[in-house]
């Protein structure tokens, strides 16, 4: 059994091209299912099949109109040309969150790590490429203005397909900017009282236990 639409006995009714291979598929199949159905080569970027892992990045051509998207979220249609994109290359921006000691200098850190973020030329490439409809450009502007919590909120549904990184002519790497914003917000500002209270309780219990052990000795 597979997730492939159960169309046994029916004739394929959609003709498209996947990675250069002419493919006949059925209405209602996603591009992933169509690629499997035809045994299309080099389709290694498939993961969750429900639009949350961001792996099955495809470039789509309809006539002269070229777009990008996720193959598991796009349905087979006539005459569409599909190319599965290779995985993203290693990121160009480097930081380890444990290196951040002080929230007061976070903006300086951000500008060191992501200097391109303030050079956005408002081409909307990131917005158009986002399969989740995130207002990426606005998110980057918020980050560049130091508004990390709001910027991170913009990227809430980001699945790290990194298509915006590919689209950006300034090499801003918006997906990583968004994740940076979300991470520093939690790292510095998420301090829930119920969790802190329980952690302290457990620490005392452990300490009590250690002291008791020492007494026994």
């Amino acid at each position: 059994m597979s997730t492939t639409a159960n169309k046994s006995g029916q004739q394929p009714d959609v003709a498209l091209t996947i990675n250069g291979l002419a493919v006949n598929a059925h209405t209602g199949m996603t591009l992933v299912e169509a690629a499997w159905h035809a045994g299309a080569p080099r389709v290694t970027g498939v993961g969750c099949m429900e639009g949350v892992c961001g792996s099955c990045r495809v470039m789509l051509r309809r006539g002269t109109n070229v777009t990008v998207g996720l193959a598991c979220q796009t349905f087979a249609e006539n005459n569409i040309e599909v190319v599965f994109l290779p995985p993203a290359s290693a990121p160009r921006h480097h930081y380890e969150i444990d290196d951040f000691k002080d929230a007061w200098d976070i903006h300086a850190r951000f500008q060191d790590i992501f200097p391109e973020a303030s050079r956005c030329r408002h081409c909307h490439g990131c917005d158009t490429s986002c399969p989740k409809g995130i207002t990426v450009e606005n998110g980057v502007a918020l980050a560049a203005a130091g508004r990390y919590r709001e910027a991170g909120g913009t990227f809430f549904e980001c699945v790290m397909c990194e298509l915006c990184d590919v689209a950006c002519p300034e090499l801003i790497a918006p997906a990583h900017v968004g994740l940076f914003c979300r991470r520093v917000t939690a790292h510095f500002h998420l301090r829930p009282p119920n969790l802190i209270y329980r952690l302290e309780e457990l620490r005392r219990e452990r300490q009590g236990a250690t002291l008791a052990e020492r007494d026994e000795e």
């Binding site: 499997w36 299309a40 892992c53 930081y95 549904e157 699945v159 829930p192």
Partner: protein, 535 residues
């Protein structure tokens, strides 16, 4: 199973405001009835689905039939394949790029190890990224670690190992703190507390979450932390085809990886291997659809068994009650239990409730299979039948709740032109989780020296049924434990790497007169392997 109420008829009959009354007696089973329900309807008890293993450490134990075929199968490689293969030396090798693998890699790197993380698909392609419901940790004032332990053991029908369960539950609060330090966000109450929900099998509210994207939030944060870490190297598209043992076949000293991109073998020599390969939903046991990601083909179990690790509960799997039946491209994909935790009911084709929705998953699953089996399901065609998950009623009682708390569900269904606020969702149990796995200790160490197993590939925590939110806790708790323990292993490393353990299994298969036609691990399901992977 040709009976059931046709879809159109059931839809015409369905009313979100119908008076549903009290739970009928059938729906509130006593303990004894619960056992009968499980024994009669749970897929683990399907006739012919379980056999005895013939060879290996678990010879004589019960095992699901299709899995047994893979555990007792031929390997892909032998000594001749290793000649001239490039070798990489590293302190710790982590196999698997989901939450458990990332947590293990980060913990090992924090302790100063040089780590190689190899993953079959892309880093983060895992069940973690889809585990959106939440993570359990006893942090509310009325809750205790002890209650968390009790709920977990009871949910697992007391088959779990109390030492492992207590290690995991005790780690809960510290795990949340570690995740927050990595930069993971959680839902908060107006006063800043972590928001908790009560889900199936919990005696109190203990489920911490990030709306209905908990796994995605966890995975993207851990993925970024791993990518950014100076001491962790990542090899994507690099499934493991075999482990390596010392000259006696007794200790794990590395692994052989292949590549989906160039089909080249690579040898990795190391002091410690951490298996974090996840589950096996994509084997579609007993013909069920699955909620799992594409790479979940049980590779870790196969590799661990071949090198001599003891496994447990190989006949026990979790079928999540609410897998989607329709639309077909989402067949088997989950509607998070969080929806039921928020108050959503299950109703059959006659519009009746038939089970307390917050019973443990195996009970709810069996009850749905009973409704479908006895003709009270909603039928689309010969193969597709289910019951209603009554989302419109939930929306009616709490306007705006679905949009606000379950954006993931709304986005997914919107793509397919379905609106859960006005139409109920048709659901049927789907193969979700491997309850058992490799036997481990509190450090995640298997019975084979040098080999660790963490996450879904490990067994002993969830007994014969996992309750919601313990998977995300387990992967971080034991992932970190294994990462730390693996780094503490400071022996001189391997002198010789061999396939002695493979030869041992081949001898055993020959002596037992078993066929060696099938090769394992499976790497990819057949329907997806065509253009990528040749066995």
């Amino acid at each position: 199973m040709s009976n059931g109420i046709p879809l159109a008829e059931a839809l015409a009959r369905y009313r979100p405001d119908a008076d549903i009354g009290l739970l009928p007696e059938l729906a509130d089973p006593k303990l004894a009835d619960m056992d009968t329900l499980l024994n009669t309807y749970h897929p683990d008890h399907l006739r012919n689905s379980v056999i005895k293993l013939t060879v290996g450490t678990n010879a004589g134990d019960s095992c699901q039939r299709e899995l047994a075929g893979l555990l007792q199968a031929e390997a892909f490689i032998d000594e001749a394949d290793l000649a001239g293969t490039p070798v990489t030396d590293i302190d710790v090798l982590v196999i698997g790029g989901g939450g458990a693998g990332c947590a293990a890699a980060l913990a090992a790197a924090e302790k100063g190890a040089r780590v190689l993380l190899a993953t079959k698909l892309r880093l983060g392609d895992s069940n973690t990224v889809m585990a959106e419901g939440g993570i359990q940790a006893a942090i509310e004032p009325d809750d205790t670690i002890q209650r968390h332990i009790q709920d977990t053991l009871r949910g697992g029908h007391h088959a779990g190992d109390p030492a492992l369960v207590s290690a995991m539950a005790g780690d809960g609060p510290e795990v949340l703190r570690w995740l927050i330090r990595q930069g993971m966000q959680f839902e908060q109450t107006p006063s800043g507390d972590l928001h908790t929900r009560r889900a199936g099998g919990m005696s109190t509210a203990r489920l911490v979450h990030c709306r209905d994207y908990t796994g995605l939030e966890m995975m993207r944060v851990l993925r970024e932390a791993v990518i950014q870490h100076r001491s962790i190297e990542v090899w994507e598209q690099s499934p493991a085809v075999e482990l390596l043992s010392n000259e006696h076949g007794q200790k794990c000293v590395g692994a052989v990886l292949t590549s989906l991109l160039d089909n080249q073998l690579r040898i990795v020599r190391t002091r410690s291997v951490i298996l974090a390969t996840g589950g096996l939903g994509r084997l579609h046991l007993n013909g069920f659809p699955t909620s799992n990601h594409l790479g979940a083909t049980g590779d870790g179990l196969v590799l661990a068994y071949r090198i001599g690790a003891r496994l447990r509960e190989l006949d026990s799997f979790q079928y999540h009650p609410t897998g989607l039946v329709h639309p077909s491209h989402l067949s088997g994909k989950l509607v998070t239990e969080g929806v039921r935790a928020a108050g959503c009911l299950l109703v059959n084709g006659f519009g009746q409730r038939f089970i307390d929705e917050l019973q443990p998953r195996d009970v709810v699953c069996s009850a749905i299979l009973r409704e479908c089996g006895e003709g009270r399901g909603v039928r689309i065609d010969d193969q597709r039948v289910g019951v209603w998950l009554d989302t419109p009623r939930l929306e009616r009682a709490n306007p705006g709740l679905l949009e606000k708390q379950f954006p993931n569900l709304m986005t997914r269904t919107r793509v397919s032109g379905i609106d859960p606020r006005t139409e109920p969702l048709l659901v049927h149990p789907t193969l979700h989780y491997q309850n058992g796995g490799a036997v481990i200790d509190a450090n995640g160490a298997t019975t084979v020296p040098g080999l660790y197993a963490v996450g879904e590939v490990a067994g002993g925590i969830h007994g014969r049924n996992r309750i919601m939110g313990n998977a995300l806790l387990e992967i971080i708790s034991f992932g970190r434990r294994a990462g730390i323990a693996a780094t503490a292993n400071r022996d001189r490393g391997p002198k010789k790497v061999t396939l002695e353990h493979v030869n041992r299994l081949r001898r055993a298969l020959t002596l037992a007169d078993m066929p060696m036609t099938q090769r394992a691990p499976r790497i990819l399901p057949d329907y997806a392997a065509g253009g990528v992977w040749k066995r």
